[in-house]
């Protein structure tokens, strides 16, 4: 069966003011099945948000292919792209910035339907309010009258208005308090179940990603360094960066702690990435070869299933 999404060698470079090249995303390849949630984790500047935007062609990628049901989004002419956009939507971290303060909630949620010239806007808005758990009279109010959690419900309702097949959720719960965060995570899980929605779930919060994703991709300095089933990546991380990242999360009481691996130094400059493996300068397993030769993502069978990791430790010498 054709996957919903087949991303091949997706690359996004930006020119910097000094005439250099910022390699925000380098050769990302992965597949996403219908109804599947792929979590994308990594720290600031690792390229996870760029990946989400590049897949939707909200930026114009430098190279690569994004096959959506077999059709390359990056090669579509404007009009065809616009029709395709019904199938792919995005929810951002900041529900304050994403909602126009001058429009009523009904207008905000109904806008995608209006833009695409679809009938029955009022009925659909009422349906969507109910779907995301907002009171029926919310449509007459303005976004600023709602709390952060409720605003995120509004943003989700709008993203779902056209019944998309793919939702890119970029840090959707990061701005919310713990008690509100759980409400929104439950809502997202419920919608996924009811609508068969596939998702790219981008977050720096590893425990949230673990909770919602079937598979997880770990990014470092613009590249996917490990990708595989969520349980395999979390319980048996292969890449030394994944190991360090997971070990750094302070665990709530009652959850077993990992032996902490404190990373020395800072993230390298993405306009001047180190040669070889970008992580080698901070890696406790670094070998001479890591400084000169970039490791490829290699499939590897281990506890929890097959996953790919880009590390010389796992290559045949």
């Amino acid at each position: 069966m054709t996957p919903l999404l087949d991303v091949r060698g997706l690359t996004q470079h930006y020119r910097t003011q000094g005439g250099g090249t910022l390699r925000a995303l380098e050769y990302a390849s992965f597949m996403l099945a219908h109804g599947e949630v792929l979590g994308i984790v990594g720290e600031s500047g690792c390229g996870k948000s760029t990946l989400g935007r590049a897949v939707l062609r909200l930026v114009e990628p430098t190279a690569g292919q994004v096959l959506f049901e077999g059709e390359d989004i990056l090669r579509l002419p404007r009009a065809a792209l616009r029709r395709r956009r019904r199938d792919m939507q995005i929810v951002f971290q900041d529900p304050f910035g994403a909602l126009n303060p001058r429009h009523r909630v009904a207008t905000l949620i109904g806008e995608p339907l209006t833009i695409h010239g679809l009938p029955g806007v009022a009925e659909r808005v009422a349906e969507l309010l109910d779907l995301v758990g907002l009171p029926p009279d919310s449509g007459r109010r303005y976004a600023h009258e709602f709390s952060g959690g409720q605003r995120q419900r509004i943003a989700i309702a709008r993203a779902l208005a056209l019944s998309p097949k793919l939702l890119v959720a970029d840090e959707p719960v990061s701005a919310l308090d713990v008690s509100i965060q759980s409400q929104i995570i439950n809502l997202i899980a419920e919608l996924k179940r009811r609508m068969g929605l596939a998702m790219l779930f981008i977050s720096h919060d590893l425990s949230v990603v673990r909770h919602v994703s079937q598979r997880i991709a770990v990014m470092y300095l613009g590249r996917i360094v490990e990708i595989g089933p969520a349980a395999a990546v979390f319980e048996h991380p292969a890449h030394p960066y994944t190991q360090a990242l997971l070990s750094a999360v302070p665990q709530p009481p009652g959850v077993a702690r990992r032996e902490r691996i404190i990373l020395e130094g800072d993230l390298p400059d993405p306009t001047d990435p180190p040669p070889g493996c970008a992580f080698h300068g901070r890696c406790r397993h670094a070998m001479p070869r890591c400084a000169v030769e970039r490791p490829a993502l290699v499939a590897r069978r281990s506890a929890g299933g097959v996953r790919e990791a880009a590390c010389h430790l796992y290559e045949e010498a």
Partner: protein, 315 residues
């Protein structure tokens, strides 16, 4: 517990007639790390600002005393308080970029504190600044001195903020969400650093945070705040392993890491009530999964093995 260096008693803060913080009491001993933990709007940050006497003009210190090393901070004049801040009480905030001056080098900014509070000569201050950068784990400290804040990463800037806060060897460090803006691997570095320094310098530490994982791992004691009040307090481990207040209990249970992947999280319904709409009973009762008729009356912070303000504490 040894004599506390900071003792807050019955602190009440109001704004426009509504109480932001009500009847808050806690103490921190030398070398101890106490967490004030809670969600947005619970009053934890404004409590820390009150301790430093840095409240916004619209906020009134309506009741309660704050004693630092035996002295009533409320009785100090502005000049005495200024001498205390930055010398005997150090502070670090969430966003190091906005706390550092972009037009001065970090060497100048650390040296300023030492010249102001310690009267060191410019040369002596710079040399001490390099020592401090070494203490907070910045490599090649001498070469860091001429750098500007924008030339550093977020983690490096937060290390500089800690160096400034520690410049005069404070007795108390107030850290308001010091790692919230940082990545998780950097967060681990900074928390390990604060933890090492408070032991090394026998410094009391008041950590303001919303992150229960951070509290459980780094703090000795925790005070959980909800809607302007401390609702539970005790050893950090006990508060989160065996929470008594229904709010703490629900908060711990709802964390994704505590639940099997993919399953519905036991969410807490509703929202935190804003100041002025917190009622006369337990402010958490409308969201509580085990309320009693008694909850219409405000419960006292009491009970064993550690105090909680709850009529129906969790077992």
């Amino acid at each position: 517990m040894s004599t506390p260096i900071l003792q807050v008693e019955g602190l009440t803060l109001t704004a426009g007639g509504a109480a932001l913080v009500e009847d808050v009491s806690f103490a921190v001993a030398p070398g101890e790390m106490l967490a004030l933990v809670g969600e947005s709007g619970c009053g934890k940050s404004v409590t820390a600002l009150a301790v430093m006497r840095l409240l916004a003009p619209a906020i009134r210190h309506a009741a309660g005393t704050i004693r630092f090393d035996g002295a009533d901070l409320g009785a100090l004049d502005g000049e005495a308080m200024r001498r205390l801040r930055g010398s005997r009480i150090g502070m670090i905030f969430q966003e190091p970029m906005t706390s550092l001056n972009p037009v001065f080098t970090i060497g100048e900014q650390i040296a300023e504190v030492l010249r102001l509070h310690r009267g060191l000569s410019p040369a002596a201050a710079l040399s001490r600044a390099a020592e401090l950068l070494d203490l907070v784990g910045l490599p090649t400290p001498r070469r860091q001195l001429p750098r500007y804040p924008h030339q550093m990463s977020g983690g490096q800037r937060q290390r500089v903020m800690i160096a400034i806060a520690l410049a005069c060897e404070p007795r108390l460090l107030i850290a308001d969400e010091p790692t919230t803006a940082l990545d998780v691997t950097v967060q681990a570095q900074i928390l390990a650093l604060i933890d090492r320094l408070r032991r090394q310098l026998d410094m009391a530490c008041l950590l303001i945070t919303h992150d229960l994982g951070v509290v459980a791992e780094f703090c000795d004691r925790a005070a959980v705040m909800y809607a302007g009040r401390i609702v539970e307090t005790g050893p950090a481990e006990a508060v989160f392993v065996a929470p008594r207040h229904r709010y703490t209990h629900a908060l711990v249970r709802t964390m994704p890491a505590r639940n099997p992947p993919g399953e519905l999280l036991p969410a807490i319904p509703g929202q935190v009530p804003p100041p002025g709409a917190r009622g006369i009973g337990c402010a958490f009762a409308p969201r509580c999964d085990a309320p009693l008729p008694d909850c219409a009356v405000r419960p006292e912070l009491a009970g064993a093995p550690h105090p909680a303000a709850c009529w129906n504490p969790a077992e």
